[in-house]
């Protein structure tokens, strides 16, 4: 770290935070992360001794709503993350500098802090047309991405775009938009999927990394277990209605007004790993299902092509380019086989009948078993 940088604690003190409220901040952070109170001391220690980690936040093909979500964080406040926890040295959306002055930062920071900065990626690189469906500074975004990743300590994949590909990668993916783990293959990548991810999940992941100096436990797909360890369905407040078999049948029916389960309206809660039903959105105000619309599975790989959204789970496209649901395919096959069986049974019956009833007029060819050589 640069010699002139201050620790997080020094900075908070300098900015007028008392030691008491600093410690309170640490225990709140611990609570927000779902940690035991003893960890608060550990967080405090980390913040007292570590300078702010540089974060370079790059944008590929995306809609910037992951950034928008990030600034919605209530605990910690986005401003505290940006000004106190990390050093957000590059972020197209918020930074003062532009053009050459902005580009220079992407050269300087990796040189100044090799192996020490975090690369955060929102969106993803398109590979078609030599990468020129996303151009930054006259060059393909994918080249810049790889260059900045080369010396990063760790990489955060924000949102469904960076993690899975998201909407621009939906069929037929005209730009060949590609999740970042396909182009950055030699760095730890923390995937924080969602379209967008929940604000407090984003800041929760960052503050965990900053305070503990390590990346959180990840599941087999690279997602932090603490937020992506369960499905929406597992903690959904409408789950009792699911178990009871009480479903919304049409929009705005009595069930909809009573908060019944949205399974039959296509809710993807049973197949979606995210923290919406636990952490909820925008300071706990609500989440998609609470607001009456099913989950569309926005944190899942390929969710755009697992539609249509308003079909119950088993009815959705089987996903191999066939425009039919699993049930349609199965029923059609069963129909064909059933018809085949009937036809075969008919033919067999005729044959059988012929066999047991020797034709009286032709004795040169008796249908007798004994005829076989």
């Amino acid at each position: 770290m640069g010699a002139e940088s201050q620790t997080f604690y020094q900075l908070m003190r300098a900015q007028g935070t008392s030691r008491r409220s600093f410690l309170k901040f640490c225990s709140l952070t611990a609570a927000a992360l779902g940690l035991e109170p003893v960890y608060a001391a550990q967080i405090a220690h980390a913040m007292e001794t570590k300078p702010r980690i540089p974060v370079l936040w790059m944008h590929g093909l995306e809609c910037t709503c992951c950034s928008e979500s990030f600034i919605r964080s209530g605990h910690p406040l986005a401003k505290d993350v940006i000004l106190k926890m990390i050093s957000l040295d590059y972020d197209d959306t918020l930074m003062a500098a532009a053009g050459y002055q902005a580009e220079a930062i992407l050269d300087e920071i990796p040189k100044k802090y090799p192996g020490e900065y975090i690369l955060a990626v929102e969106g993803n690189p398109p590979l078609n047309e030599d990468g020129m469906y996303c151009i930054v500074g006259g060059r393909p975004f994918v080249d810049k991405l790889k260059a900045v990743a080369a010396n990063a300590k760790a990489v955060i994949a924000w949102g469904a775009c960076a993690s899975w590909g998201c909407v621009q990668a939906a069929r037929p993916n005209p730009t060949q938009a590609t999740p970042i783990d396909k182009v950055i293959t030699d760095k730890p990548i923390i995937k924080v999927p969602g379209c967008p991810p929940i604000a407090e999940v984003m800041t929760g992941v960052i503050s965990y990394m900053i305070t503990f100096g390590r990346i959180p436990d990840l599941d087999s797909r690279g997602r932090p277990l603490m937020f992506y360890g369960q499905r929406i369905h597992d903690k959904c407040y409408r789950r009792p209605h699911f178990d009871a078999g009480e479903f919304v049948e049409t929009w705005d029916d009595q069930g909809a007004r009573e908060g019944y389960c949205l399974y039959k309206m296509g809710c993807r809660g049973p197949t979606t790993y995210n923290a919406c039903s636990t952490v909820r959105w925008n300071g706990g105000v609500s989440f998609p299902i609470q607001a009456g619309h099913g989950c569309i599975g926005c944190s899942e790989d390929n969710f755009w092509d697992n539609g249509p959204f308003y079909q119950p789970l088993s009815h959705v496209g089987a996903g191999f380019g066939v425009e039919a649901s699993a049930d349609e395919i199965g029923a059609a096959a069963a129909g064909v086989v059933g018809a085949g069986v009937l036809a075969h049974a008919g033919a067999s019956a005729i044959k059988h009948w012929q066999k047991i009833k020797p034709k009286p007029k032709s004795d040169d060819h008796p249908p007798h078993e004994g005829d076989r050589p």
């Binding site: 599941d219 699911f242 078999g245 009480e246 899942e300 969710f303 088993s314 096959a333």
Partner: protein
């Protein structure tokens, strides 16, 4: 069937019948019917899980547990199926030679392949009659292996993958299946889709299988359905 000789045999002069063979030992028979019942329940409840077709139920959730019961039945049958399959695999090792047939179609045997072709011709109504089979004919063996065995394993793997998602991280089914199966398929949604497709695959097998069992019982030279009940294969004629 022996007591009621089919008309086919009553017409020609009565021939001496080959001695019966004990094919399906008791565990195989019990397994067969337990498994058949389990799959029937699984498909039925699976349908209802996929499509809860009943109309809007009103009230307090604690008044009903419809979906919960249906899922419970699905899971109980699932465990029954798995247990039955475990017993069956064990029996493949310790049972008679017929107990192994569906696990290992003898594709490497030239004679087996010859019989295979012949059976196909028989089903295409070209061949006037089947060979005598004390176990399964090669085509049946293949179907039992490719459709039934692989299908059931597929349903068990995808089923416990979905089950592990519910029981959660750290459960045995999560660790054994969910952890790798979901990434393999791409997403939990895709696993479900394939679980449903797997059901249809098994349904196809069952349609053909039940039809064949009845057909062969009537048309082939040996008993079928009763074999799966009493274990003995009886032959209807005495030719090779």
């Amino acid at each position: 069937m022996l007591d009621h000789p089919s008309p086919a045999l009553s017409d020609p002069p009565q021939a001496e019948v080959t001695a019966p063979v004990y094919v399906y030992e008791l565990p195989v028979r019990i397994w067969h019917w337990v498994m058949a019942l389990a799959i029937t329940i699984l498909a039925f409840t699976g349908f209802l899980i996929a499509d809860p077709i009943w109309p809007l139920q009103m009230g307090q959730p604690y008044n009903h547990y419809m979906m919960g019961d249906i899922r419970f039945a699905h899971f109980v049958s699932a465990y029954a199926l798995v247990l039955a399959m475990v017993v069956r695999v064990y029996w493949a090792f310790v049972g008679n030679r017929y107990a192994r047939e569906i696990f290992l179609p003898r594709v490497w045997s030239r004679q087996w392949r010859g019989e295979f072709v012949k059976t196909v011709r028989w089903y295409l109504l070209i061949e006037p009659e089947t060979s005598k089979e004390s176990g399964h004919n090669p085509l049946a063996q293949t179907a039992m292996f490719a459709m039934f065995l692989l299908g059931v394993i597929f349903e068990i793997v995808t089923g416990f993958t979905l089950y592990g998602e519910g029981v959660g991280y750290g459960s045995w089914s999560y660790d054994l299946f969910t952890r790798w199966v979901v990434p393999l398929f791409g997403s939990s949604q895709t696993v479900r889709t394939w679980h449903v497709l797997g059901m249809w695959y098994l349904i196809l097998f069952v349609i053909v299988h039940v039809y064949m069992a009845i057909r062969e019982d009537i048309m082939s030279r040996q008993t079928m359905i009763s074999t799966m009940i009493n274990g003995w294969r009886f032959f209807k004629d005495n030719r090779p």
